[in-house]
């Protein structure tokens, strides 16, 4: 019988790091750091507990793992390459490939977000400070464009609700209005009045407070690419994509319904609500079917983009053909 004596330098099999754990080492480090930070913060600076946690740093490792929200769909996600080269972001041009070609001009750090209107804590916050107290989670949502195509995107973000609650809306607040950065130097598309710049969008407060409504900071496990609305965008999965405003610099709580860019541009075609609804056609094309990017043939469009169970009650008793 041959007895093999391992040399001292030899790595024993039980010491080899599991590949999966190895691949997740950054997450492990981050969590450790976050834990230590929270602990230290909690001990030394009670007001800043967990400040390090969740704020995605620039150059975040691709494929980092975040807790997956139960709101996620298990449908196959759209190829990253498609989700980042087929975009509507008119600030960078009106062709689908324009944003991926031109958006590198936008500077996303530092980034300030102005909070205004009917809130107890108005002011201008640095993006990191706005996000710091919240934990980032992953949410795989369907995205349905008003142009009858769709994708499935794994977003990283925080529920808008959590942020709004921290800003403390006054009892007068009924709507939330958002604005995109306005800087024709960085956004060449804004040199021509294709839409009312800065791009503006809005939600009813109960829509904004709905647990599905997300403030996204990343996708596919990494920071948002500029063409997808870096560094901060809205994601409202039951509404047509243009409601999910990109590169947000202003959040205002209002008493009255805010104007929105597409509604100003063509009020008959793009309503304030713009909920995905296969029964209500765009005046120029049907919304009954959609092409999932990556598919050859079209598929039926679902009411509220498949989120009817979650959000249907928001619109109980409303005539959705009139409130389109």
């Amino acid at each position: 019988m041959l007895i093999r004596v391992p040399r001292a330098s030899e790595v024993r099999s039980r010491e080899i790091t599991d590949e999966e754990l190895y691949l997740r080492r950054r997450e492990f480090l981050r969590q450790s750091a976050a834990g230590a930070g929270a602990l230290a913060g909690g001990l030394l600076l009670p007001g800043l507990g967990g400040a390090v946690e969740g704020a995605p740093a620039a150059g975040e490792a691709p494929g980092a793992v975040f807790p997956l929200s139960p709101f996620s769909t298990d449908e196959e996600t759209t190829r990253y390459e498609h989700a980042t080269t087929y975009n509507n972001f008119y600030e960078f041009g009106t062709d689908k490939e324009d944003p991926s070609r031109n958006a590198h001009r936008m500077r996303t750090r530092p980034w300030a977000v102005e909070v205004a209107g009917e809130v107890r804590r108005p002011g201008t916050l640095d993006l990191e400070d706005l996000l710091a107290p919240h934990a980032v989670e992953e949410r795989i949502y369907r995205l349905r464009c008003v142009e009858a195509w769709s994708m499935v995107i794994p977003w990283l973000g925080i529920p808008l609700k959590d942020v709004l609650e921290r800003l403390e809306p006054t009892p007068h607040a009924r709507y939330v209005a958002f604005r995109t950065l306005h800087d024709p130097k960085q956004m060449p598309g804004q040199r021509r009045p294709i839409l009312r710049w800065p791009y503006r969008e809005g939600l009813r407060l109960d829509e904004a407070m709905h647990p599905l409504t997300l403030l996204a900071t990343g996708m596919y496990g990494r920071d948002l690419p500029n063409q997808n609305g870096a560094p901060l965008r809205l994601v409202v999965p039951w509404k047509y994509g243009f409601k999910s405003i990109k590169s947000i610099v202003r959040i205002e709580l209002t008493r009255r319904r805010p104007d929105t860019s597409w509604n100003i541009s063509a009020p008959r075609e793009y309503g304030f609500y713009s909920n995905v609804n296969p029964e209500v056609s765009h005046p120029r094309w049907s919304q009954r079917r959609e092409r999932r990017i990556g598919d050859f043939f079209k598929r039926p469009t679902l009411m509220f983009n498949g989120y009817a169970e979650e959000v249907g009650s928001l619109y109980a008793g409303m005539d959705l053909a009139r409130n389109y």
Binding site: H82, Y90, K96, E147, R284, W285, R291, G294, K298
Partner: protein, 195 residues
């Protein structure tokens, strides 16, 4: 005679290139995130471009004296029809998957589809009667019938204008070229009658 034939063949070969390129990109999977949309847009745009090219032949002859272009008007028109057929096929077969109710509904209810379909419907009899035999058989009526190309071109330009969401620049360029090509005709007659 031989030279003319050669030029015809060259013309067809050159304008078949965009179609060939689309075919290659389709097979290679390099038509982007939405290949069907890309096919639809490209075939439609080439149909419009070639229609404008065929409509440019007469003004070029009248205003610039380029009479030697005359024989290529039909070739350009038929090439336009070829792209229009591909355009329709992609839309009906892939986009609507031969769902006749959806197709009929689109034609009746969506003005931009109505305009596009009108343009195509006008081109069909023109393509059919483009042969010399049909020219002889129809005599003077052939000229009257082929004025349908004006309807087709205007409908195609309107189709493009009506389908874009907000940025009208590109369809407006085509519409402006078409307007100039159409205006060149009566202007030429007016000038000649004054001389």
């Amino acid at each position: 005679m031989d030279r003319k034939r050669w030029i015809h063949a060259a013309l067809v070969a050159v304008f078949a290139l965009p179609a060939a390129a689309l075919g290659v990109r389709l097979i290679a999977g390099s038509l982007g995130a939405n290949p069907i949309e890309e096919l639809t847009h490209e075939t439609g745009e080439w149909a419009l471009r070639l229609m404008l090219a065929s409509l440019a032949v007469t003004p070029a002859r009248q205003w610039l004296g380029w009479s030697r272009l005359a024989p290529y008007r039909r070739t350009l028109g038929l090439l336009a029809f070829g792209y229009a057929c591909a355009h329709m096929l992609v839309y009906f077969a892939v986009d609507l998957f031969f769902d006749w109710r959806a197709i009929l509904e689109a034609i009746v209810e969506r003005p931009y589809v109505t305009a596009g379909f009108t343009a195509f419907a006008c081109l069909v009899p023109l393509a059919v009667t483009s042969t010399r035999r049909w020219m002889r058989r129809l005599g003077r009526r052939w000229n009257t019938l082929h004025r349908l190309v004006y309807v087709a071109a205007v409908a195609a330009a309107v189709h493009f204008l009506w389908l874009v969401k907000a940025d009208l620049r590109e369809p407006l360029v085509y519409a402006a070229i078409l307007a100039a090509l159409l205006a060149a005709r009566p202007l030429y007659r007016l000038r000649r009658s004054r001389l």
